[in-house]
Each structure stands twice: as C-alpha cells, then as structure tokens.
Chain length 305, copies 2
C-alpha cells in the first residue's frame, strides 16, 4: 500500500475504507456509516450503539469551557446521535483521559455536567475508565433503543421529499457547541411521524446534507434564503448576510436534526410541531434525482484530517 496520508483521503474517505475492511454480521441491521449502529434486539425493540470522542484543543479549549460544559458536551454529542436515529438513550459509559496534575474539581465539574444531562434524559451512567494523557479527552459510548422498524437511517430519502431542519445554524463556536440541548424528544416524534431519513448536523449543514443524499443515491435542491441562521452567525458575519449564510452552511457543531419526509406528511408534522416544541422547524429544500452536482455548491464542512 502506498503511504497515503489521512489528509489526502479525508475523514469520510477513511470511514468508507474502514467499512470495507470490516465484515458484516447477522444481528447488525446497520453498522458503520450511520449516526449509531442498529442492532437486532428482542421483543420488538432495536438497540442503538454509538461512540464519540471530544479532544482538548480540537473540540474545546480549557480557557473557553468550564469543566461542566466539557462533560455536558462529551455526553451531548452522543445523545445527538441517538436523537438522529429516533431513539431513546438508556445507558452510557464514560472514558476520561487527563494529565496527572488535573485538579479534582475539574473531574467533579466534568461529571456534574454529564450528570445534569443524563438526569434530564434518564440515561444511566453505568461505568467508565480513567486514563492518563497529556491532554484532556473523553470518549462516551451510548446505548439506546427504538421500537423495531422505527430507527431513522441516513438512507431512505425519496424523490420529492421535503428536506427539513430543526433549529438554527452557524456560529456555534461562540458557545452553543458547549451548551446545546440534544433533540431527543424531537427525534422520537419525527421517527413516529414517517420521516424517510435523518441525520444530526455535526460536520456542517452542507456536508451532512451531502452524507444524507449520497446514502440515498439522490441529490437535493435547496432554497438558501430559507436556511435559519443563528444570531451568533450574524454576529460573526458583522451584518454581511452572505457571510452569515456561509457560517450556517459550513460551520458545523449545530447538533440540529436534518431529515426528509413526504410533503403530505410534512404538512401534518408542521401542524403538531408548534404545540409540542419551541424548537423551530423549517423546510429548506427538496430531494431530486441525481443528475450531476447538487444545485448549491458543496463546500468542505468540517473534517478531522
């Protein structure tokens, strides 16, 4: 094998390769390549399993984040994956790596942040691991469940489906990436409302929309004027609307839900949504047949390598 670097391959090229290297298993309904794995379980239930790591100076900086926020984020990014599958999180294990001279109050704060979030969603913190390392990092693995046939995959979108998002996008670096509320209740509601595909927006709206349509081997048309933009993105753009939109499309770490649904069903969902949730719900485009490139330029979004 040539000494190819990770950079030339990119994070998602690498994930595709890893998927090819690893065999399929019975009882695995969906393995590598979705927000969480979908495992066959008993009694009409399906289990979800996922892992996510946050690393100091990549996913947070110690000077910008409290220990509570770091713990919150370590668990929240995982809950967002379960939300994207339409699932209910049940149990989590937490691995925390940190330098030897870390003060105990950091550890206490970190677990306070985890506990505040796990209490809110009824997730049991059932175990973990402590390791030493030169920087702080934390991996959380989460177990969830979903009634059989309700797990919402990235694939499944159909031509003509409406493309929708929860919440607003862009500028999460100004703070929201440390404090966001995972869309668990919204994800459950959508999974029972007949969405055809769903993903959470972590790498950027454009990039995750790209993942979603390519899983379904389709393309999209998007109305950029419809994209809900956060006030943080507007602040970053200093009043320049085009730049604010760029933040919304490419920043990432929004941890909102992006999904597709038939237009008929969308009308019904919209009716019920406002009674249940304060989170905005917005139709931003449509799924179309794949002909060539998508009709809005596909930017880079966030890649780790």
């Amino acid at each position: 094998m040539k000494a190819r670097s990770l950079k030339s391959l990119g994070e998602f090229g690498l994930i595709d390769l890893i998927r090819k290297w690893t065999p399929k298993h019975r009882n695995v309904l969906r393995g590598i390549g979705d927000d969480a794995a979908v495992l066959r379980s008993t009694r009409g239930r399906t289990q979800l399993l996922s892992i996510d790591t946050i690393v100091e100076d990549v996913d947070f900086r110690k000077r910008d984040a409290t220990p509570q926020q770091i713990g919150w984020k370590a668990l929240a990014v995982n809950l967002s994956d379960i939300a994207a599958m339409g699932g209910i999180p049940t149990a989590a294990v937490v691995s925390l790596t940190m330098p030897r001279n870390t003060p105990l109050r950091f550890v206490k704060g970190f677990f306070d942040g985890i506990k505040r979030l796990s209490d809110r969603f009824g997730v049991a913190l059932v175990g973990g691991d402590l390791s030493r390392g030169s920087k702080i990092s934390s991996s959380v693995a989460i177990l969830g469940e979903v009634p059989r046939n309700q797990a919402t995959l990235r694939s499944g979108a159909r031509v003509g489906d409406v493309i929708c998002v929860t919440g607003r996008f862009g500028g999460s670096i100004l703070g929201r990436h440390l404090t966001f509320a995972p869309r668990i209740a919204e994800g459950r509601f959508l999974a029972t409302s007949g969405v055809t595909s769903m993903i959470d927006v972590s790498d950027g709206l454009m990039q995750d929309l790209g993942h979603l349509v390519s899983s379904s081997k389709l393309a999209f048309q998007m109305d950029a004027t419809k994209i809900p933009v956060t006030s943080a993105a507007k602040r970053l753009a200093r009043g320049n609307r085009a730049r604010a939109l760029e933040h919304a499309l490419y920043d990432g770490e929004d941890f909102e839900l992006l999904f597709t649904i038939s237009s008929k069903r969308f009308a019904r969902v919209e009716q019920h949504w406002k009674k249940r949730f304060q989170t905005p719900l917005t139709a931003i485009g449509r799924i179309v047949r794949r002909k060539g490139s998508p009709s809005v330029r596909s930017g880079q979004g966030y890649q780790h390598f």
Copy 2:
C-alpha cells in the same frame, strides 16, 4: 472543595467518588465499579457494557508496538473485561484519535489487529469515531451478554473459597501486553461452574485481588510459592526468585482471570479444565474473614494517577 490532586486521591479513590456522584438506575443490575456494567435485558439474558481506553506512551509505545498490536490491544483489554463477567462479547464500537500526519498504513494495521481479534470471537465491529489529537489513543466500547444470573461480579466471594488464577503472571511489558488472548472461553466455562466472584488482572495480581476481596468485605491468605510466574518475569528478575515473584504480584497487564470458588466445586472444575483448556489453572490461596491487613503485604500495583 479543596483543590485536591488526582495523585493524592489515586485512581480508585476517584472511581469511588464518581460512583457517589452518580445516581442508581432501575434496569442497572451493576453499575460503576465492576469490570463491566450489568444491564437488565429481556428473555432471560443480561447485557454487559464496558469501555476502555489505551493511550500512546502510557499503554503502548509506537516504537515497540506494530499498528496491528495496538489495534489488538485496544479491543483485547475490553474482551478481557467481558471475560471477567463470564460474558460473550457481541458488538464493539471503536474510537481512534491520531495526529493529522498519521500514515494510512497505520490505520489499516490498527483495524487489521482489531479485525483479527473480533473475527476470532465473533464480535461485530459496528461503528466508531475518528478524531484528531497530538498522540494516538483509542477507546473501545463493548457490548456483551450473559444468561441471566450468570454474570460473575467482583463481589460474592465466601469465607473458605479457594482463590484461583488462569495463566501466569509478571513481565507482560516484554510483549505479552500487546499479544495476549482474552480468556473468553475460560470465563464462560467458569461462570457456568459456580465461581462466586471474578475479576481480570489488569492492575496487578495483588491490587486486583485487593479489589476482589474488598468488594466482598473479606480478606485473603495467599501461598506466594504457588503464584505461577512467567518466563518473562524471570528474565526481568535475572534469576532472582523473589524479584520474579514481585513482578508477578505487581506488574499488571496480565489479563488473566482471578476468581473464587468453593473447594468442592474447585475439585470438579480442575477435572474438566485440562480437557478443555491449555491455559494453566492454579489455586493460590483462600478467602478468610477480615481481621486487619491481609497476610501478604498489599503493594501498589498500577494506578493511573
């Protein structure tokens, strides 16, 4: 709270604190503080969930370990936790953190090592996460199962029980910590043979025996001449028997099983063992009532902080 350091508290003092910070949940039969969490499941089965992290320059050095061995170890330390619970591993998720300039052949080798081991034990690799960091580290979370009431906990030892170990101890730093075979089949067999408590030896035989007896609020008597010592430990000790024994007692990373069982049952287990396994099985002591300190001095073993 005083700014206590992790070092003054120690890894296990910290784990005790974290356990106090986190609430108990229904459906969690055993949470923080065993080799894996034990979760109530359906249809006479119990689920196991565990996470373990290995970090460059703490758990391996790049110049001493091949990428395959690093991948192997990342999964193997988790399989050892499932083995200690008497469980069967079913699915794993792998998080890999590495510098941006990591060559692709490292990643390929790492997943080759994981795949070789997961194939051997029928574990499905169902997902993961790639992150960027200044050093290589990997967290693996593993899901397993065990027939109801068969999970072997650290607690449960009874006065008079024989203390037994699989395999040999000491000197794993010379290579075995990267190549060991997790004792899954042995653990399953023991779980069906009436062992009263079980743990895997990762922090050192003395320290893990300490964890085991303190979980049961008991003490032990040990015959140090019975401890099976590896040739690696003897090599490190250069023929000095007392030093070789010290390596066996305190080095850690042996990933053998340590368990307790009634003497009557032990006789039966010994009979069947040799027909099934090549791994040595050795009785090294007895569980006694707690009166004060244990009868062999309790050394430090490995602690991360």
